[in-house]
Amino acid sequence: MQTYDLEANGLRGLNSTLQEQNGGTNKTAWEIVNAKGSHAIAVGLNSPIEVTVKGSTGYYCAGMNQQATVRVEGSVGPGVAENMMSGTVIVEGDASQYAGATGHGGLLVIKGNASSRCGISMKGIDIVVHGNIGHMCAFMAQAGNLVVLGDAGDALGDSCYEARFFVRGSVKSLGADCIEKEMRPEHIAILKDLLARAGADAKPEEFKRYGSARQLYNFDVDNAQAY
């Protein structure tokens, strides 16, 4: 285990050190201490290393991640795992706005609550939130799965495309063109796998599925009010 003191050695050094761990490194496990809410911790990683952040982070933690596993033992500020491509990001606490925004792949697990705009414009990422999510989550979501064990706020899935949303609790309101959909066996299978990988103690049958009604795909003047 390599330990990096962020306060003593700085952010630029941290990210360049972690980004250098490509291929053949034997320094596969890293621990970052004195995070103190700093921004852009462990961004742009591109190797299967394991990074643990002790404490809470600020903006954009683990952004653009590929292959790495980043675990935050605290809460995260806005934009955690933004534009993630692959790998895993686990947040033990809460997440602020736009967690997992525009993510193309990989798994983001939030053990606490996520606030507004979680999964906004998601493009293939899987997001599992153990608690609740705020308003405008998965706005314009295109692909991937958003799983919420708690409740969802206003306008879930507004103007969404083919992403799937699974919510166990209540949904305050659905956004434009987002509807409840039938839970078929293939959805149960997807959800079962995601819950297991996210360490979530819940049964797939307890969830409802939501997704696009596909009415907004092409402009139709009869839908003008829904835009």
């Binding site: 103190k36 809410g37 809470s56 809460s75 806005p78 809460d94 706005q97 507004s116 705020g134």
Partner: protein
Amino acid sequence: MCGIVGLFLKDKSLEPKLGDMLTDMLITMTDRGPDSAGIAIYGSEMDGHTKLTVQSDVPEEAFDGLEGALAEALSTDVSIRVIDTHAVLDVPAGKAEEARSALAELRPGMRVMSAGDTIEIYKEVGLPEKVAERFDVRGMGGTHGIGHTRMATESAVTTEGAHPFSTGSDQCLVHNGSLSNHNSLRRKLRRDGVRIESQNDTEVGAAYLTWKMQNGATLGEALEGTLEDLDGFFNFVVGTKDGFGVVRDPIACKPAVMAETDQYVAFGSEYRALVNLPGIEDARVWEPEPATVYFWNH
């Protein structure tokens, strides 16, 4: 961007350290707003006295002989405490309005930053660290305080455009965001007799709360009103003589994080601002909900 910090103490033993804690929080938020900085601090009260905090761009000239001139104009004792470009004048409570009029005559270029039993406001253009040093904010004690680092979006980078804004006795407000209907609202409030001195959108937000409370609303009701009557983006943190309130607009795209322990309630635009507070590791930390009013009273 802009950075907001606020600290409302429940534990009296922390009161002497209020300025010190606020200064650390303020400096941490420098990269959200390096244009200007300001704090409102609720300090000690002298029975039967009102504190007027005034500011001048030419302090030596403006404050020289002011104590005597104002005492003569009001026919009463007045005391003055000069701190850099600011001065705190102590006048008998019943004479506060008269003092304002007298000051306008005696020193026309001078600005009244705040008036009240306990509030003092210090704000200037420049880096938050420098501003805090100029006024020795670290040395100030009090029950609660609010600070702001500004990245100007509405109105010029001037002392007048810096936050906090105070438009009523012992009231102040800091803001992160931008209001879109401030011009029409400013005209309406001025017609109703509310004093608004700058072109800044935030001052209109402050004046709106003052106007609501003058018309009988509680702080909580006034904050609720902002959700109906103000258009735009806003995180407001407000102070009154014994209260501390927070409200975010319904879209809530401006960042905010709060922490509460048995000792204090704290607000920061980012969690970084809170990391040095005592017991923050075990505090309840949360992001205030959109269109939801939070407030605390002593």
